[in-house]
Symmetry: C2
Subunit: 342 residues, 2 copies
């Protein structure tokens, strides 16, 4: 607020300035709005399953990114809450359907929707959430509704395409895959939703095309960095700090950024060692694979890759000509996502 008093008038001339609130405050703000999303009560099983899933505790990163995208340019317009609801409903749709495909049994610490209500209801619950995301978008002002829906649908298709690429990944031989394909897959599967959430908010907030692209790149690259970090922490994290068991990806021979990069960097002898290590049963596999990762400096490589995408994200943000104090809250959010202690 001091900023206002000192530079107030000049800054007001350049921008319709309002303060940029931190994630936690916008989270609270969004939670109130989200509670206004209502579903019918019948058929009971369908809507009970949707409420069960939507009510489970979640970080609401996407809807808050949407609000931040708006607030970076102007004070939050009511339409951004509709858009925030749409991206949150869409995110839940994709989780419900992904959990079926991945045979996941736990989500947000509770049984997945299909485990609790059956696969058929889970398919329908996902479908209904997707339809409701468009119902939210249909409430926003006609001036830019078409543009928002177009960005949203392009993103939605990419998310489905990314999930298909992930399914294909699991069926293909590791040596036929590349790290570049992995980046494309995770970009589509998870990062375009982050980028688009921020971009739609910015569009509603009055950002021009270049600013929209910059904030999209911010969200997208944070998403990519976050995903590589997730893979990194599975092998090199400290369970006490991450709260996750170490080596689960290795036990599943999951095609992570680390494993794909290791196959790209290894000479034929090391490649043979790695393949062999992947056949070891039980916990010993974890140690064997990690020791090969270390020999290939995969830990350092991963650190660099995370920094690379974080740098692109921040450079994109820097390009946006809004007062620095407004951008700070987005740096804070990015850092809170990316500085999970290893």
């Amino acid at each position: 607020m001091m900023y206002y008093i000192r530079y107030g008038f000049l800054v007001l001339l350049i921008h319709n300035v309002s303060d940029m609130r931190p994630f936690t405050e916008l989270y609270q703000n969004y939670q109130e709005q989200a509670s206004l999303i209502k579903f019918p009560s019948h058929p009971q099983k369908l809507y009970e399953s949707i409420t069960y899933f939507m009510d489970s505790p979640s970080k609401k990163i996407r809807p808050v990114l949407c609000l931040m995208g708006n607030e970076l340019f102007r004070e939050i317009h009511g339409d951004s809450y509709m858009a925030a609801n749409a991206v949150e409903l869409f995110h839940n749709f994709s989780l419900v359907h992904d959990d079926i495909m991945d045979h996941s049994t736990l989500r947000r610490g509770r049984p997945t929707l299909h485990v609790k209500y059956g696969g058929n209801t889970a398919i329908l619950a996902g479908d209904t959430l997707l339809i409701h995301s468009y119902m939210q978008l249909n409430k926003i002002a006609i001036d830019y509704r078409g543009q928002v829906m177009s960005l949203f649908s392009d993103m939605a298709c990419k998310v489905c395409e990314g999930q298909q690429m992930d399914i294909d990944f699991e069926e293909r031989e590791i040596e036929d895959l590349s790290y570049a394909e992995y980046i494309k897959m995770i970009t589509y599967k998870t990062s375009v939703l982050l980028g688009t959430s921020a971009r739609i908010g910015a569009l509603i907030g009055g950002a021009d095309s270049q600013q929209q692209i910059d904030i999209y790149e911010l969200g997208k690259n944070i998403g990519i960095a976050f995903q590589i970090q997730d893979d990194f922490l599975d092998a090199f994290g400290v369970a006490a700090k991450t709260g996750k068991q170490i080596g689960l990806d290795i036990l599943e021979n999951k095609k992570t950024a680390l494993l794909l990069k290791a196959f790209e960097l290894a000479d034929p002898v090391r490649k043979a060692h790695l393949k062999n290590a992947m056949t070891i049963t039980g916990e010993d596999r974890i140690e064997a694979v990690i020791s090969i990762y270390k020999a290939l400096s995969i830990d350092q490589w991963a650190g660099n890759a995370i920094r690379h995408h974080t740098a692109i994200a921040f450079e994109s943000l820097d390009k946006i000509a809004v007062p620095v104090y407004k951008r700070e809250k987005l740096y804070e959010l990015a850092n809170s996502l990316l500085v999970r202690e290893s």
Copy 2:
């Protein structure tokens, strides 16, 4: 065209008249438009599966109903083709997901999408079709796009709800179910899409609210009549005429309109006979159940029910103040759907 010459000027004063083309002509017309729906090529499996499904021969009743809804009022506006594409894409989405839920192996004479490409790709293909239906709607004129999308989304939710009711039906005891619930279930599951397809076309064609409701009721009741007829023909049809094996529903103890009505009409003794007949193994069950249906005059009841809904449909159409010769093509379509020889 003779009509034009004779009454031309007067009719033109009442309506912006163009000839109302029959189903077959609009079908051809729509086919050309539908071929313009393009999907990307990557990921190959996802889009190959969608093309496989969309290219299988189908009657295109919903998109043509949409075009007829428009042409009943004014000559076809380009937007109606987008709306027609949307209802057709949506219909295909619902078939792909329903086939997974119902474990169906054949659709339009070919293996179902999930049988050919796997359940995961089938879930994603359905999701992608649903998203593409909204992409089509987003192309139509801004003046009524919001209204169209609102009608479309309400319909889409009902279709999912109807499918959930159908799943619930299969899990519930036949004696806990009513014919009224059955009507609600099939209305949601199949008929609101027919009604909404026609209504959206009419809206684009400039119909007022009451006319939109009337044409919606037309489509909806034709759908209901068609569904009861489908159940009727399973028991009382002639295989040589319907091209379908008789008694398949009975062999599966499917909860059809006929079975539900039979349970409602039967006294305790007949109810016991019917329950007993349903436990007979093999083809003998068909004869046993049909003889009870006949004793309860279920065949006559079904004929009346079909006529009842057909009458509501035609009364709704009669209310619409457009020249009779324009309405005729819709009567023709309804009759072609409903007069399948038993």
